[in-house]
Amino acid sequence: MKRVLIIGATSGIAMACARVWAGQGASFFLVARSAEKLEALASDLRVRGACAVRLRQMDANDTAAHPGMVEAVVQALGAIDIALIAHGTLPAQSACEADPLLALGELTTNATSVIALLIALANQFESQRHGAIAVITSVAGDRGRPSNYLYGSAKAAVSVFCEGLRARLFKSDVSLIDIRPGFVATPMTEGLALPTRLVAQPETVARRIVAGIERKADVLYAPAFWALIMLIIRNIPRSIFKRMNL
């Protein structure tokens, strides 16, 4: 029976992953800002087969609350088999260009709060000497593109942090999976004019994430075809890239 911690549990991708684990009879510790949404998610997972569901209201940006949260998880579950960090926001690039304070706030939500959580969790996982930490970053972190380089740089910071942390945790038998989704049909991407053929359903992405965690992948593009798209985008020469509006 898996013991699963999810931070940002009410995000679209996290909920879809939780349903897969619920079907396997997992025990959950779910963390999110809204108590009402957490309750709705908990009852859903129970009906779908979850063995136990515990809830904690927390804003991931409240870094002071992180250690207490990790302590509560360990107390409740004993140990953590899977920790999924899934919270995040998708700011409008143009708004961030107009307002440095907004930009810094978005960096806090998407980068520094995640790194703070990783630090707190890494120590726990290192001491328990097993398990997997999965972090949802983004294909946007692969290269700073003019359409969303603030979001992209936050995700890139997390990805680079993960690269180093993965090598540290490897020695303790703990895996760290950097999940880079492309376009996924969730509330976060609603209202964006996305190319329909490239938009994946959260259920599809969730199945890939759950399987990727299972086989201890390092970096996981979801769906897989994004690995190819990003390979091309990463290799566009700078002299051409700066003239583009990707």
Binding site: G12, E36, K37, A40, S43, D44, R46, V47, R48, E190
Partner: protein
């Protein structure tokens, strides 16, 4: 979702709907009042499995309820399940079957939502035993733009309860519902199949076997003329008394794109019907099969509606009352065979006399015939009016969930309760169907 907005299952009439996705119950009141302010009226849209225009908003602006798909509670000892309205019947089966429960009533697709099943008061192969879906709804939550939230059951808000079951989504947004499931001891079906050569044989078979089996349905070769009118295949079935309780997720094929013209024509129809008829042996035969191929054979091909091309298709489902059933069905089939239009899927089913709690419910005691036709001007100008005349003369009625053409007079005459629905309609809700047949 198609790039140009949401459509109904028949892809006709083609009025793309602009959706507002509803993810959390807490957000519904704001979504409803925003839609009302910006567009005048709106409508809840579930999985879009209704064929015609009953799931299309008059304003073409819908509240997309499909994302609202969480379970709220399950009592596996009593088979009582509570879920949000956007949960599909497939989701319900995936949760319930391993615990030994099945939907008390299921239509021919598992992709419909719980809210849609209530709003259309759907029925299935066991109508003669268990009536419509609405009979197994214990309670539901309704959100109205004028009076807010209410819980409705036979005892609380009984008027809204009966107006909402089969009420085409017009009496408020169904937020969640509590349903009674049916116990099963195996997820396998023991089926009996037998060919019949004409309508008299169908009615004889139905009279003999319907009452002995939980599920009964027939396929009819609607191209057959003269003496062969009404030949087809009768299928009955029951859940096996013992066996595994397994959720079935068979591999699906998808029709990958919409061909430029309909692939359904005289040639393909004749070939299909001839092949299908030969599939069943003439003598009575027994097989055991999974619930998925038994209840949902069409779901095995995702987006099969695309084969009708960009113009789409219409389903014509009419019910002829018991007394006139033999003559009425014969007249309908004769008209179809003479038109040469034909249909892949002609489905015949005798409905029982169990009343629905719903005011606007379609089934009543009699025989129901469902036919699919590629959309064309000729269809609307000649064949459908001829079929309508038969239905009118026999005192029958047409299923709103399938309809895209019914005359307003016919609707108002055959569903006299429409006035009560109109009186209880949420002023913020209006469908293209309702506007067409009542105004």
């Amino acid at each position: 979702m198609s790039a140009g907005g949401l459509l109904s299952w028949g892809n006709h009439p083609r009025f793309p709907q602009v959706p507002t996705a509803c993810h959390w119950r807490g957000d519904l009141p704001a979504a409803l009042s925003a839609a009302r302010q910006e567009s005048g009226t709106t409508l809840a849209y579930g999985a879009g499995m209704s064929y015609g225009d009953s799931c299309l908003a008059a304003s073409d602006r819908v509240l997309h309820m499909r994302p609202l798909d969480r379970f709220l509670d399950a009592d596996w000892s009593a088979g009582v399940l509570t879920a949000e309205a956007g949960v599909t019947l497939e989701d319900i089966l995936a949760a319930a079957v391993p615990h030994g429960w099945f939907l008390s009533v299921t239509p021919g697709t598992k992709y419909a939502t719980l809210g849609g099943a209530i709003a259309n008061d759907v029925h299935g192969k066991n109508h003669h035993r268990r009536g419509t879906f609405g009979r197994h709804v214990r309670r539901f939550g309704l959100l109205r733009s004028d009076t807010g939230r209410a819980t409705c059951s036979l005892h609380e808000q009984p008027e809204l309860f009966s107006a909402t079951i089969g009420g085409l989504g017009l009496t408020g947004l169904i937020e969640w519902a509590e349903i009674q499931l049916m116990p099963i001891r195996s997820s396998r079906i023991e089926a009996v199949t037998q060919r019949f050569d004409d309508l008299d044989e169908f009615f004889a078979l139905s009279a003999e076997l319907d009452e002995r089996h939980e599920f009964c349905v027939s396929w009819i070769d609607c191209l057959a003329k003269g003496k062969a009118t009404g030949r087809g295949i009768y299928t009955a079935g029951d859940f096996a008394a013992e066996g595994a309780l397994a959720v079935e997720r068979p591999r699906k094929l998808t029709v990958p794109f919409t061909p430029p013209v309909s692939l359904v024509n005289g040639l393909s129809l004749r070939a299909f019907n001839a092949l299908y008829a030969r599939r069943a042996p003439a003598a009575r035969s027994r097989t055991t099969l999974g619930y998925d191929p038994f209840f949902y054979p069409l779901d095995a091909i995702l987006k099969w509606n695309r084969i009708y091309g960009p113009k789409g298709f219409q389903q014509y489902q009419a019910l002829i009352p018991e007394r006139e059933a033999r003559a009425g069905i014969h007249a309908l089939l004769t008209a179809v065979a003479e038109s040469g239009t034909g249909s892949f899927l002609a489905v015949l089913k005798r409905c029982g006399d169990m009343p629905s709690p719903g005011l606007l419910s379609f089934p009543m005691q009699g025989t129901s015939l469902a036919l699919d036709f590629p959309q064309s001007h000729a269809l609307e100008a000649t064949l459908l009016p001829r079929l309508d005349a038969v239905v009118r003369e026999t005192g029958g009625r047409i299923y709103p969930a399938k309809d895209a053409h019914m005359r307003g007079e016919d609707f108002r005459h055959s569903y006299p309760s429409w006035k009560q629905i109109e009186r209880l309609r949420d002023p913020a809700l209006m469908s293209r169907f309702w506007r067409r047949v009542t105004q």
